[in-house]
């Protein structure tokens, strides 16, 4: 039985490897995610970069020379605002502008809060970092002057600060990164499903459509060996796809300037290995389900439709989790797909999932695979499946 399984596995693998076009797409597909990722993050990072000169357009700078000097001392480049600055900000030509009214100086010396306008368009993500920096500088200037005024009147500035609020963000830097990297597991799940798809269809619905299923079944070969050999061949391609996807992510993440996003992410070989450890068992279920479904499908085309739908559905748990995080529970680790989506997320957050969770996840996937493979072997014994249904 093992010899037959091996013969089937070897033949199927050879057959798929020679199918250049579908191998190409199966192994190129996993690169899309990392490429998209690298592009997206490079752009976002370039918006956020702290060392980018802060350009502030000021209307009426002559009314507040001290303020302008303070801003310049703190790294801002000051420009005279054009007369139509509001329109230019609305159009996105300018990130922001400060408008200083003529009576700023009078109010200032009179001890009345001096009005000052910070003009920006809150719907533009691109300008948000610059706006935040400017706002922070203005508050700092205001607080500094306020403290000086109190001191001049012999009052301790601390009296004016009844609360000493400091933020303690419990998210590790990796956790913050994971929020942004939450879409990564989704790409790995897709790779696990897309990778083996052409192989699974070709070995089942394709075999029937080509008329090679009948001669194959006439051999004294156990249905279980046939199914297992075809399954492992599909799984092998899916594993290759996963390896490529994880390697590509590792490369992409090392290139993207994540620190510019304020994100410290450790992603080295150990993290890559952990991703694979979680994702590889998923490819087992994916392959088994694909073999059974494609065998059940009436035609090659029908099989393609089914399996594409399955690949799409497979991304749902990860998509859901990235929108609405779930509190992990032990039972979830037995559910294929859900467990992988959770665990991949954990790894991306820099957490170490406990070993027994990894084992339950792999065990649940193996059990589900066995069920699908059993169903597939049963289907192969059904004459209506073997010779097709009208």
């Amino acid at each position: 039985m093992m010899r037959q399984l091996w013969a089937v596995l070897r033949k199927e693998t050879l057959d798929h490897l020679r199918d250049r076009r579908s191998m190409f797409s199966a192994l190129l597909m996993p690169l899309v995610g990392p490429a998209l990722f690298a592009g997206l993050f490079t752009v976002i990072a370039s918006w956020n970069r702290e060392d980018k000169p802060l350009l502030v357009h000021v209307a009426g700078a002559q009314n507040a020379p001290n303020l302008v000097a303070f801003l310049e001392r703190n790294g801002a480049s000051i420009r005279e605002a054009p007369p139509d600055f509001e329109a230019r900000v609305r159009d996105g030509d300018l990130d922001l502008a400060i408008s200083v009214p003529d009576d700023y100086g009078k109010d200032f010396t009179g001890g009345v809060p001096a009005a000052l306008e910070l003009v920006f368009d809150g719907s533009r993500n691109r300008s948000r970092p610059a706006v935040l920096r400017t706002e922070r500088l203005l508050r700092q200037y205001s607080a500094q002057l306020g403290a000086l005024r109190l001191l001049a009147r012999g009052v301790s500035p601390t009296l004016a600060a009844p609360l000493a609020l400091s933020e303690v963000n419990l998210a590790t830097p990796e956790k913050t990164a994971a929020n942004a990297l939450g879409i990564l597991p989704m790409f790995l799940l897709i790779a696990a499903f897309i990778g083996g798809m052409p192989a699974a269809i070709d070995a089942t619905a394709g075999e029937r459509e080509r008329g090679s299923l009948e001669p194959l079944l006439v051999n004294p070969v156990h249905r279980a060996s046939l199914v297992a050999g075809k399954w492992l061949a599909a799984v092998a391609v899916a594993w290759m796809a996963l390896l490529i996807a994880v390697a590509a992510f590792a490369v992409a993440l090392s290139r993207v300037p994540l620190q510019d996003l304020g994100v410290q992410l450790r992603f080295g070989p150990p993290e890559a290995a952990r991703l694979l450890l979680v994702a590889l068992p998923l490819a087992l279920v994916a392959g088994a389900l694909q073999i059974a479904l494609a065998l059940f499908a009436r035609t090659f085309k029908e099989a393609q439709t089914y399996l594409s739908a399955v690949a799409l559905l497979a991304t749902l748990p990860a998509a859901f989790l990235s929108l609405a995080p779930l509190k992990e529970a032990a039972w979830m680790m037995w559910v294929p797909l859900l467990s992988q989506a959770l665990l991949l997320g954990d790894v991306m957050r820099g957490e170490y999932p406990p070993l027994h969770w990894l084992l339950s996840s792999a065990g649940g996937s193996l059990a589900a695979s066995a069920v699908f493979l059993f169903a597939a072997a049963r289907l192969l014994g059904n004459e209506r499946i073997v010779f097709g249904r009208g």
Partner: protein
């Protein structure tokens, strides 16, 4: 030795085989002749265990094929009506794959593959992919892989259908060789010339029933016709679906 006893098979409301019985002995070539749709392929598929008869039984060398389907398949070499090759595998790989599934030892398989391919005139094509093969070349590869384990009983479904003269001759040579070595050969055809040229015994099937069974001479005598072709038409009741 192949024996078929009172075989019945229906698909839904369509009766494909209705009470078919015949026997094919070792060292003989038995022809299953009948028009298209007579139930030849269905009968052969029940012999290969891929179809389950509704009633009746198929015996190979005296054993019911359903008792031990694995053993039955070991005793059988089958060339189905659709040859179903893998376009990306070479001729040699096709033969080797089936030999491995039959559990042949490596060395034995290497030798056997080379012999079979040579016998069928495929040596030059041995390491080319099936993709570009002609219909005749495909049929010969399918035949080679069906015979890789040197089976005692050989089922051939329309083996020379659509073949050119040279390929037909090669296939006939193979069939005669099998007979000479005491194998039991059962082949189906709707081509009378084919059956007349090769068969020691003819079973004529029409509309799922056996309508005549005997040697070519017996058939001629029974129907009172000199010409074998007319004897068939007489037996079947019409000349529909038969080729000359």
């Amino acid at each position: 030795m192949i024996e078929v006893r009172r075989l019945h098979k229906r698909f839904g409301s369509v009766v494909a085989v209705e009470d078919v019985s015949f026997a094919a002995s070792d060292g003989m070539v038995t022809g299953l002749l009948g028009p298209n749709g007579a139930g030849k392929t269905t009968t052969l598929r029940m012999l290969t265990t891929l179809l389950e008869p509704d009633r009746g039984s198929c015996l190979l060398d005296g054993r019911d094929v359903r008792e031990d389907p694995m053993d039955a398949r070991r005793r059988l070499g089958v060339l189905p009506d659709v040859h179903g090759l893998y376009p990306r595998l070479t001729a040699r790989e096709h033969v080797r794959y089936f030999g491995e599934l039959h559990g042949l030892a490596r060395e034995q398989l290497l030798v056997r593959t080379r012999e079979l391919l040579a016998e069928l005139g495929l040596s030059e094509l041995a390491d080319r992919r099936a993709q570009g093969f002609s219909h005749g070349e495909r049929a010969k590869v399918a035949l080679a892989r069906a015979l890789v384990h040197d089976p005692q009983n050989v089922l051939l479904d329309e083996p020379t259908n659509g073949l050119d003269v040279m390929s037909t001759r090669a296939v006939r040579e193979i069939i005669r060789g099998l007979r000479a070595r005491g194998r039991c050969v059962l082949f189906s055809s709707h081509v009378m010339q084919e059956v007349g040229a090769l068969c020691d015994r003819i079973v004529v099937i029409a509309r799922g029933r056996v309508v005549a069974d005997g040697t070519p001479d017996e058939l001629r005598a029974r129907t009172g016709r000199e010409n074998l072709e007319e004897a068939f038409v007489q037996a079947i009741g019409s000349d529909q679906g038969l080729s000359r």
